[in-house]
Symmetry: D3
């Protein structure tokens, strides 16, 4: 796929097509308050992942409406004290994986929390364990984008983003976490979630958002040629009178809208041949982001984006941001 989107100059100026919906702040305030009211302390159970270098725990945290969400909490084995924490959200259709699927940040000495996406967890071998009780267990190609398009209150991403915000609450409360050094992170859907969370949760130390999904969604639906934006286009192709309401709903979860409220520093990345998350949609998120940000541009990549090179860049950026993975006050 060639470089098909706006020119470099246009990308640098592009701020997206979505206006903040009326009542957005109240919508989220009420949503989060209600779910937090039902939250319990996370349950943490050690598991044997056959990995002497890493301690892995199976966490059950409270998500939307108090419903359980599964996550893996990992720490360098034998390291005491409070560590910085990197919370990772998953790509579309993926789950938290198996216990031994350790992210690079753990090896770099950080504590990490890999959070399931409810109802997802069957894609690309990244299995999950969290049902969406407003429906069903993990399902493939689940059409999550189109569940509840008729009403923000019932849309799937209201539940998923609430899970994600409350995962930060839970992460801060985990034993051995330095609450002043919590970073949210993710690739694609995970990157979009991280950006959204950055606008919905105070006190974050940083944001890592790679080729993020969920940004400037109307444009994504109009010009993406692969990936889950096409689910919305396909839905609207049948439900021809539903577009206004659908986009009004999605605006409540648009990471290029929610991210305007963020203040934490962010490291983002974009790929100029990305057919799944078009470059302009990512630039819209970056150009309107509320906090300081850096953007790494990969001109020759499709949606795989920076991959291992971006991981290396993150390790360097985090070291500067957090002063290294050395334990804190613990």
């Amino acid at each position: 796929m060639p470089q098909y989107d706006l020119s470099a100059a246009e990308l640098a100026a592009y701020r997206g097509s979505v206006t903040e919906p009326t009542g957005l702040a109240a919508f989220w305030e009420e949503t989060l308050q209600a779910s937090r009211a039902r939250a319990r302390a996370p349950r943490v159970e050690p598991v044997d992942a056959r990995l002497p270098l890493v301690e892995v725990s199976d966490v059950t945290l409270s998500g939307y409406d108090g419903e359980p969400v599964r996550a893996w909490y990992r720490r360098p084995a034998g390291v005491g004290g409070d560590l910085p924490l990197v919370i990772r959200y998953q790509g579309y259709t993926g789950g938290r994986g198996l216990p031994h699927q350790v992210p690079h940040w753990t090896l770099a000495g950080y504590a990490t929390l890999d959070v399931d996406s409810r109802g997802q967890g069957s894609g690309g071998g990244w299995v999950g364990d969290t049902p969406d009780p407003h429906g069903h267990g993990p399902s493939y190609l689940g059409g999550f984008m189109t569940r509840g398009l008729e009403d923000p209150a019932r849309h799937y991403y209201r539940r998923l983003l609430t899970d994600a915000v409350l995962a930060v609450d839970a992460g801060v409360a985990l034993p051995g976490v330095d609450r002043d050094r919590v970073v949210v992170a993710g690739v694609s859907q995970g990157g979009g979630i991280a950006l959204a969370v950055s606008g919905l949760h105070d006190g974050l130390a940083g944001v890592l958002a790679d080729v993020p999904f969920l940004c400037d969604m109307p444009r994504g639906v109009a010009i993406a040629s692969a990936g889950p934006y096409l689910e919305v286009a396909a839905f609207l192709a049948s439900h021809r009178d539903a577009a206004d309401r659908a986009f009004a709903t999605l605006a409540h979860f648009d990471a290029a809208v929610l991210g305007r409220r963020a203040t934490a520093p962010a490291l983002m990345s974009v790929a100029l041949m990305d057919t799944v998350c078009p470059p302009s949609t990512v630039h819209a998120a970056r150009n309107t982001y509320g906090g300081p940000s850096e953007l790494v541009v990969y001109p020759w990549n499709d949606h795989e984006g920076g991959q291992f090179h971006q991981e290396a860049a993150q390790l360097e950026w985090l070291a500067k941001l957090l002063g290294g993975p050395t334990p804190g006050r613990g």
Copy 2:
């Protein structure tokens, strides 16, 4: 796609790969009994479809666990008395459509009932109006095959087939229906549902099942190269240890198993280049079907099967079966 499946001689003898699960009868008896216990009389509201020739009513019937299921009830305008009724179930992802999407059977003088598939209703322009409250409203490519694969009690098709059986209950109770002349019908998923219903509901007058889905599912998953069987393959490709349980679950909804209990005469069709519902899976259903049956073979078609030619064959077959659409005892 060429003719890729078994030879003609092998197809004639093939009886499928699925053994009836232990406790199948009890499973369905309890399921249906529980939902029937919560059923209410169907609500019937006339709508203006701008069609002087056809009376259209919006029906809300009680499905699984008493939950509402939407359907269109159509009759030739101005025709009194009790008419034979053809109940149609929908293809995968499709819904009951708009009021003016009238099936050929209505034009042939029969009453018809077009039943929504819960949670589906966004595919190919066939919109639906029935949510699956064990989850969500209509969603595209919703991965219905894989919702609840871990347990027959929680699988999506338990709810959908219960809806389908109770749609017969409701259909019989509609005003102007000759209860001795009720036929179930459908194409693809709809055909699979009709076959399954034929084994779960007594007293049916006939079954029309075209290129039916849901038959001999393990083989379908192993050799289909397009369509929803691939959802199961994709799910198992990630959940590598879930295959036994998944197929044990699906066996409860396999139309080539449930159809063994049927007694009503059936007209089926199969396409020998069908990549979605492989010819062998349809032959398995036909070769083990409990009642008398005819099979129309389309050697040169993919999953579109007999299409309009099969419709014409149905009108002829129904006329013989039912003695024409003349009103009965009404």
Copy 3:
């Protein structure tokens, strides 16, 4: 396929790339006069379609050069008097279908005439019964677009459009037709034909043209990525010196040229992701159309366009236009 064509503002202003060929009026006047001179009254033979609600007759009308063209004439059963008539032309490769393939307009109480496309009639299950008794020069894969590109007098669409115009003559002459309320209609090729006929036949009451083909053909050939415009591109890819003559020929049949002569009100539709009939080509036809017109825009559809939703829109528009399907002077 994303939204790939001109922007909304550009579409609103775009008037196409084709200049009316010199002598166009004379070309058509002579063509139609010659064929009308050989026309005979349509032959109308009732057929049994097994549809008590609809009377179906097999019509043989006189087309180009007096050659027979087949059509289905359908009326609500038992309705006397003169009815409005909707004449439908078929999509590319399709024919008039089987007797029971009843359009929605018939159910809405209108008389309808479904006209075959000569030589076509094998696509998508829509069979036809009308040969094209004329040979042709070299053509790429035999597509109808390329038969006779060397000369307007010998091009396939000269014959097909003449058939279409004379089908109006025949329709007006059918028993039970209100000649003041005749509407021409079609989807894709059928829509292009309807637009062309609107410029070639006086006295029409209305035009229904959905995602019309045959409009602003040079642009269609340059930017379509699917469908029959590609036949012309493929032909010119071999016959590299034939482009000027080919487009000069096609200009005689361009619905965005012929429609400039129309006066009847038109309801059109366009899909912004249409890869077969690019949105700009449809806008060219609409923006230069001679009569009053409305355009329904489907932003998220490919060539399926508005489908059932557009059918519903048509029933409403026709009711306003024609005062309902009530019989007239009959």
Copy 4:
């Protein structure tokens, strides 16, 4: 595409699925006699191809029903006397090409005649100049395979094969041809025509048939996954009741049937990954061929077959067969 057809042992034994139709001999005798009765001597006009090494003439010969067929007659420049003649028929959609598209046989010293395929002549840059002045009934996307499937007397290949047989008559009559050393040749469709001609014309010296089309057509239609056999499958997919008649028609032109009458030695070739002309269909032709034959097998090729390597093999085989291109009695 992998090796997908029968095993090597099965191929060696396979003799096809087509029985010679009743009256085949009479059908062709009458057909050829009628057209020969209307034949005139070929018209031969030198053209300037800017090729000092080759004399090129534009030939117009009498084909089916006396209709003109165009061909290029080429000879080594300045060579007198009667030369052996290789007559080439064209691949599907191709024509005789431009004057300078000289076959390898001409360079090898033979006279050659490149015969147009009526109505074709636009594919792959091989342009043609011969119209097919005959109309046809409904055909899928206008493919030549489906023109006249309803009746052998009206099928396209009756005309095309008659052209091909009469091209031998004309070739023999050309100035400077050694009538005892005439070879027919072709690739794909051209190879099928050559085989058919070998059974319809006496006195041929040899046959070159590479990856021939038109052999054992019912099997070709059932298992080919690319190319023109798919046109028949697509036609039958709509015209579901036309299969018996269609295959009865095609049997009159099946090169694996007509070739049984041949006596001239043949050099054939087959590719084991050929998706257009399946290996079994070619083996059926070879295994039932009436004369002596050699078969070159290309295990790793799709429909491109032996290409330049087969050309080299032909030059060697022809040299043995004909004693070299030395002039004869001229």
Copy 5:
């Protein structure tokens, strides 16, 4: 892609199509001896991967003809003593990656050595740093499979497998390695290399070969529908007279031949929908393997095979085999 290869019973019995070439033992003895004669001790240079948990060293070892081959040597940080070593070979086109791309075995406490594939190292983001300083004859699209097909002595895999065997020599010599507990491992090409090395190097403790490439290559070339076997088919499609020599060359590197000489226990895996490494080719390797072996079958996977699930199975299998990653004599 459906399950397309042999049936389960046939797979269980299938032993492949390749006979051991004459002189195979001598070929490898001489090859290895010559390169070992030019080998030097590996150079080991620590690198900063920003990973406190893992020590990473950049190793330069002596491969074919003494040429340098790069590898990453990784150990759990701060763990003294001699550890078991897992040597990983890379998938087709991949390289050793970046320093922080740590395999799961390292986290499980084993020392690991990730060996570059010369000339490869650009695929899927797995970059490499090892050139192949040897030229080659004509090759199709430059694929490694076709470099030197004309002669085993010059084929690319002679050099690559020599590198792989000498990587074991080097691995054994690394500081902190328990030479009695060395395992070779890999996926796809890496799995094929591991199997080949198991037949070429004594004293290995175990072999991990997932969906291995390079097994029973003639069958792979005949039936694979994706991946690098197609490079050979494409080469032979042009070089039509080169097949015998090509397969004679490849037989020297066939893992289903070399593995017959192995004695170490092996854990293998196969996917029944694998289009790149057909299931029969893997079974051929397993069914003829010289040592004890287990085979994990993934019925619903394409070439991704067992992925993370297979990793987990490996950790368990290795723990049994090696008695855990506890340091040995060090």
Copy 6:
């Protein structure tokens, strides 16, 4: 593929994106001088191609660093004296072919020299016989484009273009060549080589460059959607930090840079639907070409370009340029 690149007006003005690298002249002067210093007289051996009309000789000429390069030298049989010579370079992956694959220029009376591309020679049936005895660093799927991207001195095209320039030296020295009438020619890669040679070798009489590759490479890599430019994009997608160096390397071989130094008249061609060599890249070469030039535009072609029509145009253009193929001083 539609017309996707710049508009006609933009194409007419577009001059490309590549600046001449510093030291380009010295780079090539040294390169050519070094190789010429090692050159020997070409070896010419007659072969029997079984073509009485054409004399074919197998030439071995000295290429890069004195390494042997194979070519076919062809002349009209029996024609004495010095003839104009057309030197043809090959398309990507192709070789010089078999002896009997005679270009049209030979038939037109010119002497021709068909030069192998080292290491290539397996694509599309055009086999080659010239190895590339040089190794390379990591390259994606082994494509020639990516061999040595790290350094102009080691890049594949340094060797290939040197071969091409020295082939002119050799051609001039062949017996029977009129050294004042030497033309370089080629299609795609061959056209790019011809343009590059036109800037690197004095005294050429003309250049024929059809749909040339290797022009304005950064843009080609950014917008091509098929063909070998994608190899560079794929390489850079893994080697994310290599882009600057890669394009700096490629600039030394960019035909739109080297062609600026040319003085010979050129006939070029471009196809406006070309997905392999985008129209803008070809226009960049033409618009900056140093000598007089004509450009034939094919609006409806993909990368096949003008094909036989362009061949005919070349014969006419050459006749004017060279005064016909009549022998010169010989």
